[in-house]
Symmetry: C2
Subunit: 216 residues, 2 copies
């Protein structure tokens, strides 16, 4: 199993609980937390005993990032920030806070949309220098550009790699796993379905099938 | 006058109203919106008839950025996003939404903390290509590194430039104005004071004094 559910709109915690058994973890984005509030976000985290990730795509100075995640530190396991913002005064401070609180840092190394080729991807060597300096637990790399997943897997054999872009954004389930990702992140394909738990199982089957082929 | 108040913790709307006359606008960050809620953020915007900026440092794919700011579009004038995420599938979509709703886009071109030198600043030419392609109303550039403000002012003579980093982060009031900024963004130096309106006036005086000197 290698599937993370992306929650980008308010879902009932009871629905999340019913999907939880069919995924490896959940990733909650900013829009539903703004709309449904902190208490909802905490309830959702408590409704699933798998890996819980808060995905605000943090990209500010240290003090602001710390204040943004502070209410969630008791309940979420991991926090996503952009590597692009660099270390001193930003990611170094965030990493220190997360270490102190026993939480995990996940750094975006590249994004799933085409615009990631404008600045992010041509900067990949500098991005890797930041990753080397900070030492995050995990990395985000796009299923839509598997060559980047492969590059990061070669360079970071032991890090967790999470790949968005599967489903609505076009990548096939299993394709990022084949390129070296630890988890694929799937949202709308599951949450937009009439039977989300069943949709999650279908994604897992498709992952297994594709992974079986590429590892063949 | 060239002063924007940064609100990075929940303040009473009545307090914001009392400071509003002594600043050119307000910029509201993510931490207080998460803690105090959307209704508080809207009340704050309505309490000050100057420029109102929502500063979530947006850095996600288009659909997520749009969903994040949707509740605020009726009341906030301008929205801050990161230029490094690139155009297609991200900033292009955000710009289109803001144009359609008659709102302004402000792009971060560089940040105020030292870590901005790791990736952001060495990528400045690619960042400028993104800015050229998107055509935002305003730019964010750090008071702490005035050479970047000068560079952007030379390249973009007509754009609004907002400079954070004055006060708590070390830059002197007026120094970014001297380098070409339109506005300096000041937070803790004002909101941390016992008399914030008086503190705002003191910052303005210091700006005028410094600007008088540099424009000699």
């Amino acid at each position: 199993m290698a599937l993370i559910l992306a929650i980008d709109r308010p879902l009932d915690a009871s629905l999340v609980r019913s999907i939880c058994g069919d995924v490896d973890g959940i990733k909650v984005g900013l829009p539903p937390v703004l709309k449904a509030g902190i208490d909802w976000a905490l309830e959702v985290a408590r409704s699933c005993s798998k890996l819980t990730i808060l995905d605000f795509k943090l990209a500010d100075i240290g003090a602001i990032m710390e204040a943004s995640i502070e209410p969630f530190l008791g309940d979420y396991d991991a926090y996503i920030a952009h590597s692009f913002i660099g270390a001193e005064g930003a990611l170094s401070e965030l990493k220190e806070l997360l270490d102190r609180r026993g939480r995990k840092l996940i750094l975006v190394a590249s994004m799933s949309h085409p615009g990631s080729r404008d600045v992010y991807d041509p900067s990949i060597q500098m991005i890797e220098d930041v990753i080397d300096g900070i030492g995050p637990w995990g990395l985000v790399a796009p299923a839509t550009r598997p060559q980047i997943v492969r590059r990061l897997r070669t360079r970071y054999p032991d890090k967790v790699i999470l790949s968005p872009g599967v489903g609505a954004q076009g990548a096939k389930p299993g394709s990022a796993i084949c390129a070296g990702a630890t988890y694929e992140i799937v949202g709308r394909m599951i949450t937009g379905s009439r039977d989300p738990a069943e949709a999650a199982r279908r994604v897992r089957e498709a992952q297994d099938e594709e992974a079986g082929r590429c590892r063949g």
